[in-house]
Amino acid sequence: MTLEEEYFRDMLRIRRFEETVLDEFKRGVFSGTTHTSLGQEANAVGVIKQLLTDDIVVTNHRCHGHFLAYGGDMRALFAELMGRQTGVCGGRGGSQHIHWRNLYSNGIQGGIMPIATGMALAEKQKQSDAAVTVFLGDGTFGEGVIYEAFNMASLWSAPLLIVVENNHIAQTTPTHYVLAGDMRLRLQAFGIPALELDTSDALEIASQAFHLMQEVHEELAPRALILNTQRFGPHSKGDDTRSEEEVALMKQQRDPITIMEKRLNAGAVSVIRAEVEAQVKEAFEQALSDPPAEEEKAP
C-alpha cells in the first residue's frame, strides 16, 4: 500500500465512521451528544501518523478522528457512543471523554492544554523519549487557561506540539466575531514557534507535522501548528446555521478525501472503499449487539 493509499484509507475510515454516527443518531441508536470532524480528517491523519510509538495525544470534544487515526478500535468507539460494556471506557465517558493507551480526551474547553503541558514535562522529567501532541480548536482561544499553559510550556521547554484546528466556526459563531488579533502571533508572543497552513491536503500537513514533531523531540521544546480547516457537518448533531451553498462550496473545494483520491488509481480506490465500508459495517453491527453498560454489582 502506498502512503497516499494509506492516508486515503485512514481518512475514509474516520469519514464513514462519523457519517454512520450522524445517520444512526436519527434512528436512535446513539444517545446523548456527539461532535464530528467531517472535513477535518486530514488534520488527524496528517499529524498523528507522524507520532512515535510512545508519544501522547491529548484531544478535545471533537476527538473521534484523533482516536481512529491513533489506531483506536472502531467497534470500541461505536460501543462507547452507544453506551455498551465494550466501549473504550465501558460507556462511562461517551463521545468526548475517552482514554486508550496514550490518548486522552476531555469535553471542557481549554483545560486539556495545561494537562498536555504537564504530561510533556513529566515525560521530560522521567527522561522518556515521548512527546505530546495536543489538539485545540479556534473557539478554545477564548479560554484564559491556555495562555497560562502556553507560558509554562515555553518557560519550562515542554516537548509538546500544539495543533490548532481552526475551522473558522465555534459551534455557530464565526471565529472573526470572537477573536481579536492573530492566533499565530499569540503563540509566538510566548516564544513558541508557530507555523500556519491553509490546506486540506493530508500529505502537506504530514510533511510539516513530521518536521515539527522531529524538532519537538530533538529540542525538547514546544512548537505549534495552526491548520486552517473546515467542518462539513454541524457542531453537534443538528445545529448548523450556515447555508447549504456555503457548505457545498467547501466540500467541492476542500474535501481532504477527494484531494487524496485524485492521486490514486480507480482500482485502488474501489478496493479501499469496499474494505472500509465492510469494516465500518462490521464494527457497527458488533457494537450494536454488545451488551449495555451496567454498574458493577456491589460486593
Binding site: 501522547i56 473504550v88 471506557c89 465501558g90 462511562r92 465517558g93 471523554h97 475517552i98 482514554h99 486522552y104 476531555n106 471542557i108 481549554g110 483545560g111 486539556i112 492544554m113 495545561p114 494537562i115 498536555a116 503541558t117 504537564g118 504530561m119 510533556a120 514535562l121 513529566a122 515525560e123 522529567q125 522521567k126 484564559g144 487557561v145 497560562e148 499553559a149 507560558n151 509554562m152 518557560l155 519550562w156
Partner: protein
C-alpha cells in the same frame, strides 16, 4: 522548643521529596530562602533542587500541569498560597482531576496532592481569610483532608501529609489552617488529661485517615458530642477541657482528618450514647460540612439524635477589622456557651 504543626508539615514534605524522586513540588514563591508564604516549603528547594519548581501566578494552569504530571506517573504536590485561591482551580479540580479516573473506566490513576492554608483570625480580610473547603466537599473522586495537631500512635499532621503524597493514587485536597501552623504538635505527654482513641472509618481499610475520639480521663459519661476538624478542633479541645475542669460539663470530641468523603462511624457511635451533637466549622454555616454531617447523623440515629447544633462563621465575607472578624468567626467562648446550653437543655 516544641515542634509545631508547621514544623511537622515542613519536615515531612522534605522527607517525601527525598523518599521518592517522582515527587515534584510546584508553587508560587516556594524557593529558599523565602520558602513559601507560610514556610511550609522552607528547605525543600535546598534539599531537592531538581524536584522543586517555582511557578508563575497561574493557579488554574498549574493545577492542569500537576494533573498531567500525575496522569503520567509523577507525584506532584501543588502549593496554593492561600486557600481562597482554590476558586481559580475549580475547573481543573472538578471537571478534570476528580473525574479522570472514573470517567476513563479506572484505567488511570491521579496521584496528586493540592495543599493550601485556609482560615482567618489574622485580619487578612475578605479574600485571604476564608475557609472555602466546603466548595470541594462532595465532589466525586476528590478526597479532602485536614490534619489534626496531634502526634499519636504513629500518626501526626506531617505523617498524614507525607503518607498521602507517597501513597495516594487519587487526587487529594489537603486543607491546612493558618493558625494551626503555630499550634504545638501535641503528643501523649501533652494530653495526659485526655483519653484518646485513634479510630478509622470502615471504608478506610488501609487505615490512612485517623479519627480521634477525645474524652477527659476518668470523666463520667459525656452529655454532648462535638465534631470539628483543623483549627476548630483545637478550639473544641480547649473548650472540652475548660468545661470539664471548671464546670463539670463532660463531652466527647471527634476529630476527623478526612472531611470528604466520610462515614464518621465513631461520631455516630458517640452521638448514639449522648444524643447531643455539636458540629463546629470555620467556614460559613449554610450548606456546609456540618449540614451534611448533621443529616447523616439524623439518618443514622433517627430519634436517638435529640439535639443537633452547628457553630460556624456568619454568612458574610470575612471582615478585615479585628473586632468584626472576631464577631464573624466562631470563637472558643461560643463553643463553651453552646455546650453549656446544650448540656442544660438535656439535664
Amino acid at each position: 522548643m516544641k515542634a509545631t504543626v508547621l514544623d511537622s508539615l515542613n519536615q515531612t514534605l522534605i522527607e517525601a521529596l527525598q523518599a521518592d524522586p517522582q515527587v515534584i513540588l510546584l508553587g508560587e514563591d516556594i524557593l529558599d530562602p523565602y520558602g513559601g508564604a507560610f514556610k511550609v516549603t522552607r528547605g525543600c528547594s535546598t534539599a531537592c533542587p531538581q524536584q522543586v519548581i517555582p511557578t508563575p501566578i497561574s493557579e488554574a494552569g498549574l493545577a492542569g500541569i500537576a494533573a498531567g504530571m500525575a496522569l503520567r506517573g509523577l507525584r506532584p504536590v501543588l502549593e496554593i498560597m492561600f486557600g481562597d485561591f482554590l476558586t481559580l482551580l475549580a475547573d481543573q479540580l472538578i471537571n478534570h482531576i476528580a473525574k479522570f479516573r472514573w470517567m476513563y473506566n479506572d484505567s488511570v490513576s491521579v496521584p496528586l496532592v493540592v495543599r493550601t492554608p485556609m482560615g482567618g483570625r489574622r485580619g487578612y480580610g475578605p479574600t485571604h481569610s476564608q475557609s472555602l473547603e466546603k466548595l470541594y466537599l462532595g465532589v466525586p473522586g476528590l478526597t479532602v483532608l485536614a490534619p489534626a495537631n496531634f502526634s499519636l500512635d504513629g500518626f501526626s499532621a506531617g505523617a498524614l501529609l507525607k503518607n498521602t503524597i507517597l501513597q495516594t493514587d487519587s487526587p487529594v485536597l489537603f486543607i491546612e489552617n493558618k493558625l494551626q501552623y503555630l499550634q504545638p504538635l501535641l503528643s501523649d505527654s501533652d494530653l495526659g488529661e485526655f483519653e484518646i482513641q485513634t479510630r478509622f472509618d470502615p471504608d478506610d481499610t488501609k487505615q490512612r485517615f485517623p479519627l480521634y475520639v477525645l474524652k477527659i480521663k476518668g470523666a463520667p459519661p459525656a452529655r454532648v458530642t462535638m465534631a470539628a476538624y483543623g483549627y476548630m478542633a483545637e478550639l473544641a479541645r480547649q473548650a472540652q477541657r475548660a468545661l470539664a475542669f471548671e464546670e463539670e460539663i463532660f463531652t466527647e470530641l471527634v476529630i476527623p482528618t478526612r472531611i470528604a468523603p466520610f462515614a464518621l462511624q465513631p461520631l455516630v457511635e458517640s452521638v448514639s450514647c449522648t444524643g447531643n451533637a455539636l458540629l463546629i466549622e470555620e467556614g460559613t454555616r449554610p450548606l456546609g460540612w456540618g449540614a451534611e454531617v448533621g443529616v447523616q447523623l439524623a439518618e443514622n440515629l433517627g430519634s436517638r439524635l435529640k439535639n443537633l447544633k452547628r457553630l460556624a462563621a456568619r454568612e458574610t465575607p470575612v471582615p478585615a477589622a479585628v473586632s468584626l472578624e472576631k464577631h464573624m468567626l466562631p470563637q472558643l467562648e461560643d463553643i463553651q456557651e453552646t455546650l453549656r446550653k446544650m448540656s442544660k437543655a438535656n439535664g
